[in-house]
């Protein structure tokens, strides 16, 4: 395979962004575009014409797109609710799949996703771009080199003020609004959990065994609607949002490590993933690291350890950084295309997707049951005990 021919399903903000990213890649062609809304389809087709000069197949029905012979890989960038059904249908149609992140709505969906991939053997890739971010990779490299000793606890958050995006959901035809109106859960766990799960070897020597989840009251969206009532969709005035403002989830792993996730998306604050790793020999939080034996006040800047980064970062160009989220989106799609072309296994695979996404529906149940612990299933049939540890990138063989 010299060129990967992609079909995009879901062309809202994120889908169109990803499509425009892959249009910059010489070994990618976008041969088909699909969305429920025709205007989005037309706009995306125009992007392809302008950037690559080709006229992609257009449809509002993904079932038509996945049947086509000129599509090698289906990129699922639709609403959260349709990620798994579309990915399953595409794999059954013999396509490779790259699926955007989000949470799952039921454990059955997660199992179906895994079993379909196992049965079809279709290449499956989960588009968790934060697994490729600099701090996450530098810390993971340090952990692999033993600097942290035994890692016992990790935490992270999706702290992102989405009040404006949520309230504009109807105008923007965006899935978040209906989720915030109807559900109460850790609805977006993978940005923080993905890098932590990779670091802890989840599905590769380790697994997540159980969780508890607790939600605060929901006050942020209503306060926002009230404050901006002059300039807001009138349907939202006085509406109850079921989504708690802050959802905390505590996960226990097979080897006794714990993970703390916080969702914080409907209150004012700056963006923060708060990637934090507690080991017996070091502690890192965001871009700072404390190393055992040094004075307690001493924290080093993790950006001073960029030599630990893999080539995708050390070779990063300004153009690469501009492709999306500071460079991680470009890395993410480069990895996907290279693995497809070379027939290599995907570094973020279906077991990862299922394990990370199921946190959403399990947290929903735990919250509804007053914080009662929920079993996190093993999607690997026990193979997690045998599967070797592998990172999403290859780290250079250098000294810390």
């Amino acid at each position: 395979m010299d060129k990967v021919r992609m079909g995009f399903v879901g062309l809202g903000g994120r889908g169109r962004g990803n499509m425009n990213l892959v249009l910059t890649m010489p070994d990618v062609e976008v041969t088909a575009v699909c969305d429920l809304y025709e205007d989005r389809v037309e706009r995306a087709a125009k992007d392809c014409q302008q950037k690559k000069g080709n006229d992609p197949y257009r449809t509002t029905d993904y079932k038509e797109l996945i049947k086509r012979d000129d599509v090698d890989a289906v990129i699922v960038t639709s609403a959260w609710e349709s990620h798994i059904p579309i990915a399953i249908a595409a794999m059954k149609a013999g396509k490779a799949v790259a699926m955007e992140v989000g949470g799952a709505y039921s454990l059955n969906d997660c199992f179906d996703l895994v079993r379909t991939q196992e049965q079809t053997g279709a290449p499956f890739y989960f588009l968790e771009n934060c697994c490729f971010d600099e701090i996450e990779l530098i810390v993971t490299a340090m952990v692999r080199k033993g600097l942290f000793g035994d890692v016992v606890h990790c935490s992270g958050s999706y702290a992102h003020d989405l009040r404006e995006e949520v309230t504009r959901g109807e105008e923007n035809r965006h899935y978040r609004l209906r989720n915030y109106l109807n559900r109460n859960c850790e609805n977006y766990p993978t940005h923080e959990l993905g890098p932590i799960a990779k670091l802890l070897g989840i599905n590769r020597g380790n697994r997540m065994v159980s969780l508890v989840s607790v939600a605060s009251k929901s006050a942020g969206m209503q306060a926002y609607v009230k404050k901006h009532s002059d300039n807001i969709n009138p349907h939202l005035i006085g509406k109850d949002f079921m989504q708690g403002d802050v959802v905390n989830t505590l996960i226990t792993c097979a080897h006794g490590e714990t993970i703390h996730l916080m969702l914080d998306t409907s209150l004012p604050r700056g963006y923060d993933r708060q990637f934090t790793v507690h080991g017996t020999s070091a502690y890192s939080r965001c871009s700072a690291i404390h190393i055992d034996g040094e004075s307690h006040e001493v924290y080093h800047n993790l950006y001073d350890y960029k030599h630990l980064l893999p080539s995708c970062w050390t070779d990063m160009t300004d153009e690469g950084r501009a492709l999306g989220h500071g460079g991680i989106d470009g890395i993410e799609f480069r990895v996907f295309v290279d693995c497809l072309k070379e027939g290599k296994p995907m570094p973020i695979e279906v077991y990862d997707a299922a394990a990370w996404m199921c946190i959403s529906c399990l947290s929903e149940t735990s919250i509804a049951q007053g914080g009662k612990p929920q079993e996190i299933p093993d999607f690997t049939h026990g193979q997690w005990m045998i599967r070797p540890l592998e990172d999403v990138v290859e780290f250079p063989d250098v000294e810390i």
Copy 2:
């Protein structure tokens, strides 16, 4: 009452420190000193002689101390396990009590403490110095003025590398060692929970209803013992410590607010209480505050709002700062002595002590039950719904 005559029970590091602090107060006399160990009693008596010129009564039996007519107030600064029994005995003997912080070992102990105070009417004060710290007070003042809107979530930690202190427990006759060897719980919740509970009006319009608690594996102490095996108490080599390194606790309050506590005391890191408040109009973390409506990147320094602090801070002298923990210990004892002399109610009272301390034994059960939610009792007989909100200090009437 012109002068408060104090008897100290428990003269280890903290007890002696507190005693030396009150020896600087002109309206305090230390008339009796007690510890299980005679050398500590002698050393404390010498402190009194040197600093105040009086010779206090000395005993190794607190039951003797609490009987004495020359003692108005018993200061309980003994090991965690004996705080409640000694406080109860002292109240029954007609003494005022100031009790150092720590966690409870059973719910019954907490109920006994409360009922004894109610029956005896003895003044009872809980020595949670962090309730008086600058950032906690500045943020509380801001919350009272409405800057945060509706507060929906708070978090804090006791993050303090105590590995050296724990391993020297036998030599130092310190209670932490036996607790870390035998228990697994949020063993020291009050430094972070106290200010949060005051802010949320716990026992005064609000209450904590339930909690879940999850502990990581215990690896930090063993790794530390192994690394320092040349220079460590040989009894500890190869010993299992039951205390998990990182304990996360999620508390739900009656009005839907949630509280996240983290205990992190047996791994390398800097000291941090991470006092964090999430409101519908502002967010603060440690010394930074973001205010709704400003650009997401903008955080202000909370130390720029010192004009919101009460007079105990605005009048703080260098001598006051030097008394202990940057000034908060001096404030804490000044408040106690003033309330006693003026017959005023204590701002941190028995209901606070019981509600905060019970987190320890409830977290112990929750952890042992795999994170199962535990009911947090109401110690006030439902009076929390009627009791008016009151802060530990009086804030000045100034603009933010």
